[in-house]
């Protein structure tokens, strides 16, 4: 069973998430503040942490740094819509993804599945579907036929190998262009636009190759 630690200072949210996650066969621990979260994570190492950024005792990024000192456990942060800065700080501190409050349980479950899937070997994903195209990642073919440049392939592969997961701009630039790159977000913007024009049914309303503005990109299967 996957053990999830949910950290939030609001008892109603804790109750709603506990019931929803247990119903989907997750093992749920809860904590109401940052110190409690660090303590619980050490006592019963979880497979995933859902962390609210507005804790009473500690800054969310502080909690993440405290965990990242010794644990690679996937972390999903819950943040208010206006906390753009906190969200970026949390991702920089090592959070894996975020969900904006108020959120639907479906959305949170999708994120949980995406970040816990990371531990599976990447080879497990051989083909992926983008609209009407089937993309074979092992022999680099697309059916029906569609040609991509090498850079487009690399970019697409990074996304398809992490279905549902947020890949930050910096991560993508490092992986595709090299470690010297990290701020050239316009590269990503242009190449993503090309990929959408080639693969999405309606490039102006993408369904699979999604942008999280200012954060990164996500392949939605």
């Amino acid at each position: 069973m996957t053990r999830v630690l949910v950290v939030d200072d609001d008892p109603q949210i804790l109750r709603a998430l506990r019931i929803n996650l247990r119903a989907r066969k997750y093992d749920v621990d809860v904590a109401a503040d940052g110190a409690g979260a660090l303590h619980a994570a050490a006592a019963h190492p979880p497979d995933l942490i859902v962390l609210d950024l507005g804790l009473p005792d500690m800054d969310g990024a502080e909690v993440i740094r405290g965990l990242r000192g010794w644990s690679a456990v996937p972390i999903i942060v819950l943040s208010g819509r206006a906390d753009g800065t906190d969200k970026v700080a949390a991702l920089d501190a090592g959070a894996d993804d975020y969900v904006t409050k108020p959120f639907g349980v479906d959305e949170l479950l999708a994120r949980i599945r995406a970040v816990t899937r990371r531990v599976q070997p990447q080879e497990a994903i051989a083909t992926a579907q983008v609209g009407r195209y089937t993309i074979d990642l092992s022999d680099h073919t697309i059916t029906p036929d569609q040609r991509l440049t090498p850079t487009e392939w690399q970019l697409l592969e990074q996304l398809l190998r992490n279905p549902g997961k947020l890949i930050t701009q910096r991560q993508l630039l490092h992986e595709v262009w090299g470690p010297r790159y990290g701020t050239e977000t316009n590269y990503l913007r242009q190449y993503m636009a090309r990929l959408r024009r080639k693969l999405e049914d309606d490039p102006t309303r993408p369904r699979h190759l999604l942008t999280e503005p200012g954060m990164g990109y996500r392949y939605q299967p």
């Binding site: 206006a82 991509l148 440049t149 090498p150 977000t185 993408p206 942008t211 503005p213």
Partner: protein, 470 residues
């Protein structure tokens, strides 16, 4: 203000005129009387009349000179022994002495009367100025500004400023100024009350005019306090209306969500699956509406408080527009998006830009006729990027365009789906906070077009990727 016993002396000009009348006038009078062969009894009243005339024209000093001169002339020409200053007749001595005494006394009385008249004229002029200022002040819609402006005009000043002492020193509280300032202007500072002072710049003022200014310095302090009270009352009125509107809009979805959930929890009834689904959908839709409204209210209060957290980033409109449309649900999917492939990115906070777009497109959808959904177009405009949200609804007359950006104002009737009229006010506030602008225009063929202009980003060129085989 009226504490001077003798009033002001007569003007220098009048005094000189008095001397000019007395010095040649009396000898000529003596010659004329001599030629006419008048006796002393006729000469004395004649000279007395002349002294009074000089006193009326030139005041005390010319009159005294005329009295002494008259005495000498009478004595020399008309009192025996003639052509000497000696007097040998006792009754003549009494007559000439009485002439001098009466002349001096009359001079004094006439002079005093003239001074009093002049003083009264001056007081009347001051009273007229005061009345004019006070009248203008009391009648106008902005008493403080009217008062300062009246002072400016009345005394031909270049500027009038009411300054207030606060924690950071003296700060201007209100000011009016003439178009041009003269470096030679003098500055007059007049305390209005403990914390206020009137500063006048312009030609030097006479003592009388300073008295008027002092009186109105106190008035300006009262006008300022009055103005602040009025503003506070207006603020209270707006807040009350806002609370009522927000209260209504928050309670409506809360009530329906609560009713739906309470119904589902009831142990007294059994719902069939279709009813259960409908109740749950009602609860969720109500809560979505509620969260949209709360988001707008929070953003508006952050905007007002200057506490808007902003993380500007290079954002592609092709990325934020579809997300905003998704938030608008089924209606959002009808909107046509036409953004050119080479549209530059904008520099904006992605979350705030999303709120701007949701509100703009939501508004456009609300007024769009069935079958004619809004369109979104984009274009580069110099170093800025222009996004147009075009609707084909009834439109708004150009004269009322600015009204739609006032919070809690919506043209036409409210209905319960709209929420308070906060969307466009918020959209403009957020756009401006990000260094952009938001202006309405008319859609050709009818309807409203909202033009959002945001700073663009000058992105370096993307290296070519030359292996593509098309």
């Amino acid at each position: 203000m009226f504490g001077r016993p003798l009033g002001e002396p007569l003007s220098r000009r009048r005094r000189l005129a008095g001397f000019a009348l007395a010095l040649p006038g009396l000898p000529l009078l003596a010659l004329a009387a001599h030629a006419a062969g008048l006796e002393l009894t006729g000469d004395i009243p004649l000279f007395l009349a002349a002294v009074v005339g000089v006193a009326l024209v030139g005041g005390l000093w010319p009159a005294l000179v005329a009295a002494v001169g008259g005495f000498l002339l009478l004595n020399y020409f008309f009192v025996p022994p003639l052509h000497t200053l000696a007097i040998d007749n006792r009754s003549n001595l009494v007559a000439v002495t009485a002439f001098v005494v009466v002349a001096v006394a009359v001079s004094g009385v006439v002079d005093l009367a003239a001074r009093r008249t002049r003083q009264a004229d001056r007081a009347a002029a001051e009273a007229r100025t005061l009345a004019r200022i006070a009248g203008g002040v009391l009648r106008g819609p902005d008493p403080l500004d009217a008062l300062l402006r009246q002072l400016l005009d009345t005394f031909a000043l270049t500027s009038v400023t009411l300054i207030e002492s606060g924690p950071g020193g003296w700060q201007p509280a209100a000011a009016v100024a003439a178009p041009s300032a003269d470096p030679a202007d003098s500055v007059l500072r007049v305390p209005a009350d403990d914390t206020l002072m009137l500063v006048l710049r312009g030609p030097a003022l006479s003592e009388a005019n300073r008295r008027i200014v002092r009186a109105f310095a106190a008035q300006s302090a009262v006008a300022l306090r009055q103005q602040r009270l009025t503003l506070a009352a207006e603020g209270d009125r707006v807040r009350t209306a806002l609370l009522a509107a927000v209260g209504h809009d928050l309670r409506t979805p809360l009530a329906s969500a609560k009713a739906a959930v309470a119904g589902l929890r009831s142990t007294e009834v059994e719902f069939d699956p279709a009813d259960r689904d409908e109740l749950l959908a009602t609860a969720e839709e109500s809560l979505d509406r509620l969260s949209g409204l709360v988001a707008n209210l929070l953003d508006m209060s952050r905007l007002r408080a200057g506490a808007l957290g902003m993380t500007p980033a290079d954002v592609g409109l092709e990325d934020v527009v579809p997300r905003a449309l998704d938030e608008l649900g089924a209606a959002g999917r009808t909107v046509a998006v036409k953004l050119p492939d080479d549209l530059p990115a904008v520099c904006a906070d992605p979350g705030l830009l999303d709120r701007v777009l949701v509100n703009l497109v939501g508004n456009a959808l609300r007024y769009s006729p069935a079958g004619r959904p809004p369109e979104i177009t984009g274009a580069a405009a110099g170093d800025r990027v222009e996004l147009r949200v075009v609707d084909h609804g009834p439109g708004i007359p150009a004269g009322q365009w600015e009204q739609v950006f006032r919070p809690f104002q919506r043209l036409g009737d409210r209905n319960t789906h709209d929420g308070v009229g906060l969307g466009l006010a918020l959209a403009r506030g957020l756009a401006e906070a990000m260094g952009g602008t938001l202006h309405p225009a008319e859609t050709p063929g009818g309807g409203l077009t909202m033009i959002l202009v945001l700073p663009g980003t000058a992105a370096p060129p993307v290296p070519a990727d030359g292996f593509e085989v098309e």
